[in-house]
């Protein structure tokens, strides 16, 4: 998986013997000595943090699968049993549930990092696309997993999401019932969701392997986006970045631990502690927080199929981003105009998340009060008026797509970038660079 010439020399008889038969030690050694740009900041530690998250989810997930019962009559109770009766279940179940949120939290930072520093540009397009694929499989895994505790939000979330397939013209209903294995979300659905939820993390692990391979082959991007030219521009992955990443992982785990130990349910929804009931819809269905922006995009359109297509488009546009951004400059540090459009993009992503959590008809931004009239025109009270969440999400959705389809393509052609440093070393050491390089 390493793109640099191997410097590994087997020292002992056994390692020499192994190196001729399966050079797996060499692969590990080359991985650890991979020359990484010397200017990576802490935003670059989220790759390691995400690896830790995936490992944590797989380990806790396999343990939970040993105690969980994927049946509509027992699923809800079995999760409660894990939390109350299974030794250390009180720790392992929240680690998995909170872990899902932490995983998405880290992946969003990782993605915004990539957007800001232009990590999707040549020669890293495939690296970026594999990353988008990982995110897509993560979303599927997260959704499937949320169904398993069989609470009200599990059930109704599954009903709404599988309803998307029903919107496909002509074959929609057949397709939806084929996915559900019945007329509605039921035992057959729960069983297959469990099987797929178990499978997909290993698909993610395989994709992560390809992601790292592509990273090491194309070379790592860095905050200034200038490709390394000399040995002085790089540092060995170990010990420099194993320690830096390790420190970031520990800090991240403090946040993780805070939620696991003190707020294990803060990131979930209280309604999921009510067992699934096919006869009663919760008054306010919301997905997990990490899907809220896409939920807002879905609801921004008054048409079912159009809403779904727009939501799919919001993810699909990420895959073609390398060809939408026309600027040759990678890092936004040297793009004085694009930087501000990026900040606005970040702002509207939060706005979309907010809209996704609220009732569409409610007022988001109050402009003032207005009189409420009865049928005869007499004033009977007053109410707030202003921009409601539907319109706010429309504005934010418009900007989301405009950023990718309009701003980045046009800006790359008209923006005058700032001068970039000659080399990474020069950007780090300034005028002392010559002495260091010599």
């Amino acid at each position: 998986m390493s793109g640099h010439p191997s410097t590994y020399e087997p020292k002992y008889g056994a390692t020499k013997w192994m190196d001729q038969r399966l050079p797996i030690i060499r692969m590990g050694a080359d991985f650890m000595t991979y020359p990484s740009p010397r200017n990576l900041n802490y935003w670059y530690a989220f790759g390691a943090i995400l690896t830790m998250c995936l490992a944590s989810q797989i380990i806790t997930g396999i343990i939970l699968a040993m105690h969980y019962v994927p049946h509509v009559d027992h699923a809800f109770d079995s999760v409660q049993r894990i939390r109350r009766d299974v030794p250390y279940g009180w720790l392992l179940q929240p680690m998995h549930a909170v872990g899902a949120s932490m995983f998405f939290f880290a992946v969003y930072i990782h993605m915004f990092r990539g957007l800001y520093y232009g990590s999707y540009k040549a020669p890293r397009e495939v690296l970026w696309i594999i990353g988008c694929l990982i995110y897509l499989v993560m979303m599927a895994t997260g959704f499937l997993g949320y169904t398993l505790p069989w609470g009200q939000m599990s059930f109704w979330g599954a009903t709404v999401i599988t309803g998307f397939f029903g919107a496909v013209p002509v074959v929609g209903e057949s397709l939806q019932q084929w996915l559900l294995g019945g007329y509605a979300v039921d035992n057959a659905t729960l069983n297959r969701f469990f099987a797929l939820h178990f499978l997909l993390p290993f698909v993610i692990a395989a994709l992560v392997g390809l992601h790292v391979w592509a990273l090491h082959h194309a070379g790592q991007n860095n905050p200034i986006g200038v490709t390394e030219k000399t040995k002085a521009d790089t540092l060995s992955f170990h010990p420099y970045y194993t320690v830096k990443d390790g420190f970031a992982v520990v800090v991240f785990m403090l946040v993780f631990a805070f939620f696991v130990f003190y707020q294990p349910d803060a990131l979930g929804h209280a309604d999921n502690y009510i067992q699934a009931d096919a006869m009663k819809t919760p008054p306010h269905i919301v997905p997990e927080w990490y899907f809220l922006p896409f939920y807002a995009i879905l609801r921004a359109v008054p048409d079912k199929l159009a809403g779904i297509l727009l939501m799919i488009g919001a993810i699909a546009v990420l895959f073609v981003l390398p060809w939408l951004d026309t600027s040759k400059v990678r890092s936004m540090r040297f793009r004085p105009v694009a930087k501000w459009f990026f900040v606005i993009f970040l702002f509207f992503c939060f706005i979309l998340g907010w809209c996704g959590a609220e009732t569409p008809d409610n007022i988001a931004i109050k402009f003032g009060m207005k009189d409420v009239l009865d049928d005869n025109g007499a004033v009977i009270g007053e109410e707030a008026w202003g921009l409601n969440f539907t319109w706010l999400s429309r504005i934010a959705t418009f900007y989301y797509f405009a950023y990718f389809l309009l701003i980045l393509p046009v800006l790359g052609l008209v923006e005058k970038p700032k001068d970039r440093p000659e080399s990474i070393t020069k950007s780090v050491l300034g005028d002392k660079a010559h002495a260091a390089a010599g």
């Binding site: 309803g163 998307f164 996915l179 079912k304």
Partner: protein, 186 residues
């Protein structure tokens, strides 16, 4: 094997026809095998025999009082049997359906009794919003019918979509009157 090697060594020609036959026969058998196996792998996801079998229920509509709604689970979905008030019937029949997203008269949403008469009092429909499958709340919304709390779809007293993102009227299940007051759904 050794014969072929010997033949080649002596500069004789390889029987290309024999090779082609083996390639094509193997390829064809593999393709047919993959196709034959793919179908069961796909079809197993569909509705199982027991799911299909648990398909019908009988409901005595006379037990539903005026202004009341009965909710029965049928094929994993709720069926609404609403005994409508005269006001609700009048609203349902008096609607100008040309403005409806999914135009249907109230009578088109009812099924005749054995004697051929329609009983507008009893509205039987699948109580599932046609948007994303939530269960609408009764006696709510801007048209006095049903309101879906998920994404704000308003249905009238005939279960027709009038406002909001849902594309269609609430579905009328496949049912028939097996006596004057008992219906069989499915």
């Amino acid at each position: 094997m050794s014969d072929a090697h010997t033949a080649k060594a002596h500069g004789e020609t390889v029987d290309e026809d024999k090779r082609d036959f083996i390639y094509i026969a193997t390829g064809a058998a593999a393709a047919a095998g993959v196709a034959a196996l793919a179908w069961p792998l796909v079809a197993q996801m569909g509705k199982a025999a027991d799911t299909l079998a648990a398909g019908s229920i009988e409901i005595d509509v006379s037990k539903v009082a005026e202004g009341q709604q009965l909710k029965m689970l049928w094929r994993g979905k709720p069926v609404f049997v609403r005994h409508r008030t005269p006001k609700e019937i009048a609203e349902a029949e008096g609607t100008d359906i040309s403005k409806c997203p999914d135009p249907q008269t109230d009578n088109e949403r009812l099924i005749a009794k054995p004697d051929g008469q329609l009983d507008p009092r009893y509205l039987v429909m699948i109580g599932v919003c046609t948007h994303f499958g939530c269960i609408p709340v009764g006696e709510a919304g801007e048209f006095d019918g049903w309101y879906c709390p998920c994404h704000g779809s308003h249905y009238d007293t005939s279960g027709r979509i009038r406002k909001g993102p849902a594309p269609k009227n609430m579905e009328i299940p496949d049912y028939k009157y097996i006596s004057d007051t008992v219906i069989k759904v499915g």
